[in-house]
């Protein structure tokens, strides 16, 4: 076989119109809300807009940029450094930290924010204690400030970077690093010049998730009463009853996101990030100096304590206070949370895999653009996206209902697509496609064309190639995607609230029931349950990762 024919062999199947249609269908749920937003932006409401431009936009634009830079930088430094330590070095407690550092992922951002503000604000236990001890707590930095928001969001979100960077380090092999060292680079230089650049698509994908979460966050910034684009969107909508102004603001937000993405993509255009295909993990870990070993231990411990252990402790204390809220219904909440998150994982990871392949195989610009657009939904505030998906779904339902009426007359069955599990899953797909797609896409970059060609020369092509060659190579990336999607869906609130069928209350819905009337301490119980159930995939992931690690 010639190289060309192998190429076309391996591409066979991805050229068929069926796969293109499927790709478009998978992107559709994510694209519809964007269309709704763009449509609203075309016809702005002049008077509200003039007000926003004068009094609201300057502040929220600056605040949003500050947050993006602060949270982006801090979480990428923390996430990458910790991933480097746990996957490449040896230090006390490394095996524990390797999986434990993922745990903060299970704590919803707004919960961490509430615990942090409650504990560290003027009336909180820390400052009260300091005042009793020293008479003043003036010198304590204000928690409800830009810095406070940045630190709390970073602590909540760094696991995205950690998990992806960890995947990168685990799959890049050590040969490149060793090669760099034989070329005379010191260990530090080799890290900077070889390992980090090789991990760049993963780190970038993780930071992109963090930035999109930051943009879309409403719960945490509300606890700080910190004004961002998202709070402005909700204010225009709920406060001024102007959903069109809200959608216009969301449109501006999307421009932000598209610009940032384009910048990051273009800066690494043309680079390839395949691994040196050295999966032998038993080679030596980097040995740190004794002092550095303890520095590593303390940093990892500190992050884990602040982002997970202490907040969990606070939640447990509150839960015990409201232990009487526990009843048999909790089994239902847990079961439904698990079912929704589990189904979402299946749907979203499968969709991500498919789209990643479509993008890889069909290098047509339009398919790439489609996939890019479809992964923007993650940056849109949850409630806006929820409505952006439910309203079109309702319109579809109304249309189908109309058809049924003309066919069957008054006795036609009542359709209610918007209150079905199908609607929930479609909406999750729209929201979390990015979360599944980013790790899978990065993972595919590790697989060289020469692997495909070698497989093809052995007659392994098409779906067989994927099943027998790619999936095993992608295992870590797929597990990463599954974990992120699972935990994100467990925590998700606005979409679950509006699309769930009656009675389908989950743990996250429970949290909403409590917080909607400000009963934060009673919300601790379902929040703890979310954390505990969220531990399951983290544990599974490390077991999976163990094959490679």
């Amino acid at each position: 076989m010639t190289a060309d024919s192998i190429q076309s062999e391996t591409r066979r199947g991805w050229r068929s119109p069926l796969s293109v249609v499927l790709g478009i269908l998978l992107c559709l749920p994510a694209l519809v809300p964007l269309v709704v937003i763009v449509h609203a932006t075309i016809s702005p409401e002049a008077d509200v807009w003039a007000h926003l431009a004068r009094y609201v936009l300057p502040e929220v634009t600056i605040n949003t940029i500050k947050l993006l830079i602060g949270v982006g930088l801090l979480s990428s430094v923390v996430g990458t450094a910790l991933a480097w330590l746990t996957s490449m070095c040896e230090f006390p407690g490394r095996r524990f930290f390797d999986w434990a550092l993922l745990l903060p992922l299970a704590i919803p951002t707004y919960v961490l924010a509430f615990v942090a503000v409650g504990f560290l604000d003027y009336s909180g236990p820390l400052q009260t204690w300091l005042r009793e001890l020293t008479g003043t707590s003036q010198w304590v930095p204000r928690i409800r400030s830009t810095g406070g928001v940045i630190v709390v969001l970073s602590l909540a979100l760094y696991p995205y970077v950690y998990l992806l960077a960890r995947t990168a380090f685990l799959t890049q092999g050590r040969r490149a690093l060793e090669a760099a060292q034989t070329l005379g680079f010191g260990r530090a230089a080799a890290t900077w010049k070889v390992a980090l650049p090789m991990a760049r698509p993963w780190i970038a994908a993780g930071v992109a998730l963090v930035c999109m979460e930051t943009l879309a966050d409403f719960g945490a910034v509300s606890v700080f009463n910190y004004n961002t684009f998202t709070t402005a969107i909700y204010r225009a909508w709920f406060g001024m009853f102007s959903i069109s102004a809200a959608l216009e603001l969301a449109g501006v937000l999307l421009v932000f996101v598209i610009a940032a993405f384009a910048l990051e993509r273009s800066s690494r255009a043309g680079a390839r990030f395949t691994s040196a295909r050295d999966m032998s993990r038993e080679t030596t870990r980097l040995q740190l100096t004794p002092a550095m070993r303890w520095v590593a231990f303390i940093s990892a411990g500190l992050v884990l304590a602040l982002a997970f252990a202490l907040p969990l402790l606070q939640l447990l204390i509150w839960s015990l206070k409201n232990a009487s809220d526990i009843d048999s219904r909790y089994w239902g909440f847990i079961a439904r949370s698990l079912m929704l998150a589990g189904s979402a994982v299946v749907v979203i990871v499968a969709a991500s895999l498919l789209l990643a392949y479509l993008e890889r195989r069909r290098s047509s610009a339009s398919m790439k653009a489609l996939v890019r657009l479809a992964t923007l939904g993650y940056a849109v505030p949850g409630t806006v996206l929820a409505v952006g998906i439910v309203v079109p779904l309702v319109m579809l339902n109304n249309y189908l209902q109309g058809l049924l009426r003309t066919w069957f007359g008054a006795g036609a069955p009542v359709l209610l697509l918007q209150g079905t599990l199908l609607a929930v899953l479609i909406a999750y797909l729209a929201r979390f496609l990015t979360v599944g797609f980013n790790p899978v896409e990065s993972g595919l970059q590790r697989i060289t064309r020469s692997i495909d060609e070698a497989a093809a020369s052995l007659g392994v092509v098409g779906t067989q190639l994927i099943r027998k060659v790619h999936v095993p190579l992608l295992r870590t990336s797929l597990a990463t995607a599954a974990t992120l999607v699972f935990v994100d869906v467990m925590k998700e609130m606005p979409i679950t609230l509006i699309t769930r069928p009656p009675g389908w209350d989950t743990l996250a819905v429970r949290v909403w029931e409590m917080t909607s009337e400000g009963e934060w301490e009673r919300a601790a119980l379902p929040a703890v349950a979310i954390v505990l159930v969220g531990l399951i995939p983290a544990a599974m992931l490390t077991r999976r990762g163990a094959h490679v690690a």
Partner: protein, 336 residues
């Protein structure tokens, strides 16, 4: 998991998920509620026990519920929209999502100021927003109305909750209704100038700040105060009924309306009438330490202990009408 296994699994999942959306017109009342489950379920359960009428409900924030209702139009299965704020009901009525309900019982039981002038929605409990103060540092004689909190006396002593919360938006809307926009703006500007610290995200944190000494006075909904002192009765804070020499205390409502296309409008009306009667009123308000909307019904003992007050007689619908103006006003004066 192999891909071959995945496809049928996916297919089955989607099929099951989709099919569940098809059904027959049911006799159950359907409620879209922004009032949370623990505050409504006991009421619904009681009603079902007494009348046999089953009730199904979906909870969410009012904004998404209203958008959903709006999109569903004539196909909506919802009979009742329930919210925790008059402005939201006003907005829903403004969009044509609620229908007028003529009922002698409702007219008799719910005061005019607590329902829509066109009877498209009714308040079923009252939420009073008034002044809370530190008993250690403030004498009640120093307090009077909402406007006075912008005066010199409270420089650096005032705590406020965020202007994003609808309770503050409707309070400012009522100030606009009472004083006109320029005067209202001056009042709110005075508040902002007096702030001891950035506005809080909720009323409880605000009261804790007063207890801790960060500030001396603030504005809260009374039931938050009730919840806090029920747990810690020894806290050195108290409620002060604002503006008793003038308009009276600002009140909002938690209420409901029958949707424009309600498939079971008659049953919904019956439920409303039941809800406006003493026994249900006691329960509805009592679950959250609010005040019953029906003036013939006494509030919970904890609530009664705070004393009587004169509520503002202005129709709560104005809070909705002027809410957008209030939000803009608060933006202008930098009330975050």
């Amino acid at each position: 998991m192999s891909i071959r296994l995945l496809a049928p699994l996916l297919g089955a999942l989607l099929l099951v998920a989709g099919v569940s959306g098809c059904g027959k017109q049911s006799s159950e009342l359907v409620v879209y509620s922004a009032r949370n489950e623990q505050l409504i379920k006991p009421i619904f359960d009681r009603y079902t026990a007494e009348t046999g009428q089953k009730i199904r409900f979906v909870t969410d924030d009012a904004g998404p519920l209203i958008e959903r209702l709006n999109a569903e139009g004539a196909n909506s299965q919802a009979d009742i929209l329930m919210t925790v704020d008059a402005g939201e009901l006003w907005h829903a009525a403004d969009l044509g999502l609620l229908q007028s309900v003529q009922s002698d019982a409702l007219s008799a039981n719910i005061p005019e100021s607590l329902r829509d002038p066109n009877n498209r929605w009714f308040g079923f409990s009252i939420r009073a927003r008034t002044i809370v103060y530190s008993t250690e540092r403030v004498k009640p004689e120093e307090l009077s109305d909402y406007a006075a909190l912008g005066g010199e006396r409270w420089k650096g002593k005032l705590c406020l909750r965020t202007s994003k919360k609808v309770y503050n938006q409707s309070l400012v809307a009522m100030l606009i209704a009472e004083h006109g926009e320029p005067k209202a703006e001056e009042i709110v500007r005075g508040w902002v100038a007096n702030l001891a610290t950035e506005p809080f995200s909720n009323d409880t944190l605000l009261m804790q700040a007063i207890v801790a000494g960060q500030c001396d006075v603030g504005l809260v909904n009374t039931y938050y105060f009730g919840r806090l002192v029920r747990e810690q009765p020894e806290l050195p804070i108290k409620l002060f009924w604002a503006d008793q020499a003038g308009q009276g205390v600002h009140v909002n409502i938690s209420g409901a309306g029958v949707t424009a296309h309600a498939p079971r409008a008659a049953e919904a009306k019956k439920f409303f009438e039941w809800l406006s009667q003493p026994e249900a009123q006691t329960m509805f308000a009592g679950l959250n330490l609010e005040y019953p909307a029906n003036p013939a019904v006494k509030a919970d003992a904890i609530v009664l202990a705070w004393g009587d007050f004169k509520p503002s007689p202005m129709n709560v619908a104005q809070a909705g009408e002027l809410q957008a103006a209030a939000v803009k006003l608060m933006d202008r004066v930098g009330y975050r």
